[in-house]
Amino acid sequence: MNELPDFQPASRSWRDIAQQVRPRAMSREGRRRYVVAGLKTAAAISVLTVLVGGGVWLARTWTSDRGWFSNVSGQSPVKRLVLQTNGRLNEQWVRNTLALPARATLMELDLAALRARLEQPSQVEKATVSKILPDAVKIELWERAPVVRLRAPDGNIFLVARDGISFAGLGFSPEALEAIPLLTGFELDAAGALPKRVPGMDTVADLLARAADMAPHLLERWTVVDISQLEFDGLVEVQSTDIPRIIFSKEYGFSDQLAWLDWTRDKASGPLKMVNVGLGPRVIAEPAAVEPASKSGARSAGAATVPAPRAAAVSTAARPPIFRINFDN
């Protein structure tokens, strides 16, 4: 036994017994487990097959159509800009603002920096920049809507949004700018420049929005909105092409005030110089000055041609050009 002899085949061990049994020899639970195990194996094989197949396909694509990889991985140059905006800014402005290099690929883009560039002008309230494979950049802009325009001390015209932020009004045509009422009566900051945020713009915006809804025929005549009395008296004075002074108050609903104004304007027989609807149901209207020859007649005619809707107009004898209409009754 000193030398290694030719060994006989090793004795069989219990491990040589085939443990597998036919399904019919299994219990119900055993058969259920057997089926579940089979399904798991089949699922695993399927997943493996898909993975291997995917790998083979990728390898073939790599050798035959390498451009596909650059497409799906954003390696091709940016060719399109997809712009969505709620305002006036156009694609050209976006291109100029972004100033993308000519051969820039999607992977090279710094989206945060691009977004910061787009949000730099205060006209853009919010911007999002996203990539669209293979070669497009999608830009969504939320622009501030102008409420009024104002003239800066240097003579430039700016637009003001509801939040009081002023902006240059990029993309607005001169006609569109002219149609927007001019804001006066705001205070400049200590340096004599425009304030960062014009106060009281929400009140003005409410008035103009209500006017646009209820009485666009009035709004289209409004040229100037003055807010000099807004802070302390709560009054907004509007200058219209037909009525030089229309006074609104934020104490009362703008819907009522607009209705009173419209009614007064309709009932007035002649041009009006001033209408104050900011006193509540009592509207004060002042007719415009008439020709000297018929001044007295005009005064009386002005007072007589604007009756109260329900009660008789209460005119003040001491001040005949001014008549009051009481809507309380």
Binding site: N2, L4, S11, S13, G30
Partner: protein
């Protein structure tokens, strides 16, 4: 698969009951999380004789254990017993090849291969090779002889083998639940490992597992299993003897055994009588206590005698200073330790389950299944250790990427 197995089932298909324990492999610890038990059917003397009945009982126990653990078993360690198991000793030696007479790994591998490579009769299969200590130039080497200096290296194995068809039947019962048997472990080794201490095994100890259908024994020497065996005699035979001797049904005899059986005759008077039921119903009658004790003691005594005979010269009181440790359901018979001590001539005591075992499982009849899980986990941990390291590497790799 090996390293992913978390929930391991230990299953004992006994003649009286099928028991299932579920252990959770928690790295370095083992948590017992499930237990199931069902009265066994179709199993006689540890061998499956009715596949369907045995399957139903075992599968019911597995389902019960899985329900209690709320987990599913991944793989199984199965206890193997039965009268068909036999053992023999074979040894071999090699001359150490190296010029400096230092034992190398190849010497060890060669001598082990020679010692285990013995043809078995047709239809027999190896269940377990139990290595005895190496000997180098005639001196015992408790551990590995590698790098020791000597000229003649000897190795011996106690090989346990069983009948192929009976082994296959046990495996197929488990596979019928679509579970894989990872290890087949001798019942005697499982229970012996559980109820003996390392010190006792080092000093030499005989562990006897008295089951319902079989009596399994293992003799430890030098810390290793030296010899194992199975007797096709168990507690059921005591019941059967009582039924024959007292003309009782099996159920009545079992009741008498549990109430009044003893491994030693203690009663001194034939007039001492015990009632069958004790409720004075029709059929209730009295039996002499001494007769019951004589019947149970005789069978117990005989069983121990046969074990001693089977151990032969391997067992001597000098080489078994750890004594006899008794376990299994039959160990609950009063006076059995004293009977064992008289037969073997050395101290005997009942095996104690470790304190970490839950009170519900501290009964001696669960020592096999507990040992099975414990022994199996140790074997499993050894077998998967290198693979676990590899798996960990890949897990780290994927975690990083």
């Amino acid at each position: 698969m090996k390293s992913a197995s978390r929930f391991i089932g230990a299953i004992e298909i006994g003649s009286a009951k099928a028991t299932v324990l579920i252990g959770e492999n928690a790295g370095t610890a083992l948590n017992l999380i499930g237990f199931g038990e069902c009265q066994s059917r179709g199993v006689i003397k540890g061998s499956v004789v009715d596949y369907k009945a045995a399957s139903e009982a075992v599968h019911a126990a597995i389902e019960q254990a899985e329900r209690s653990a709320n987990e599913r078993i991944d793989l199984v360690f199965l206890a193997q017993t039965g009268a068909h198991l036999e053992g023999f000793y074979n040894e071999a030696f090699v001359n150490v090849k190296a010029a400096d007479n230092m034992v190398g790994a190849q010497d060890i591998e060669t001598v082990c291969r020679l010692a285990t490579d013995k043809q078995l009769p047709p239809g027999r299969m190896v269940v377990r090779h139990l290595r005895r200590p190496f000997r180098l130039d005639g001196r015992n080497v408790p551990g590995s002889p590698e790098n020791l200096v000597g000229q003649r290296l000897e190795a011996g194995y106690w090989t346990v083998h069983g009948q192929e068809s009976k082994l296959a039947d046990s495996l197929h019962v488990i596979r019928g639940f679509n579970l894989e048997v990872r290890e087949l472990i001798l019942s005697s080794l499982a229970s012996g490992h559980m109820v003996t201490t390392a010190e006792e095994r080092q000093n030499g100890v005989l562990a006897l597992d008295l089951g319902a259908g079989t009596t399994d024994f293992v003799l430890y020497r030098d810390g290793l299993p030296f010899l194992t065996g199975v007797l096709p005699v168990g507690g059921a035979h005591l019941t059967s003897d009582l039924a024959l001797g007292l003309r009782l049904t099996e159920g009545q005899a079992e009741k008498m055994k549990l109430r009044h059986g003893r491994a030693l005759v203690q009663s001194r008077s034939k007039s001492d009588k015990v009632w069958l039921d004790g409720n004075y119903t029709i059929g209730d009658r009295q039996f002499p206590q001494m007769t019951i004790e004589q019947i149970t003691a005789a069978r117990t005594w005989e069983t121990f005698e046969v074990v001693r005979k089977k151990l032969g010269t391997a067992f001597t009181p000098d080489t078994c200073s750890g004594g006899v440790v008794l376990t299994g359901g039959g160990a609950k018979l009063p006076g059995i330790a004293e009977a064992a001590a008289r037969v073997f001539g050395i101290p005997a005591h009942l095996g104690e389950t470790p304190t970490w075992v839950h009170d519900n499982l501290r009964d001696p009849s669960y020592s096999t299944v507990l040992g099975l899980l414990y022994h199996g986990m140790a074997a499993h941990a050894e077998s998967v250790a290198p693979q676990r390291r590899g798996f960990g590497f890949f897990r780290k790799l994927f975690a990083t990427t």
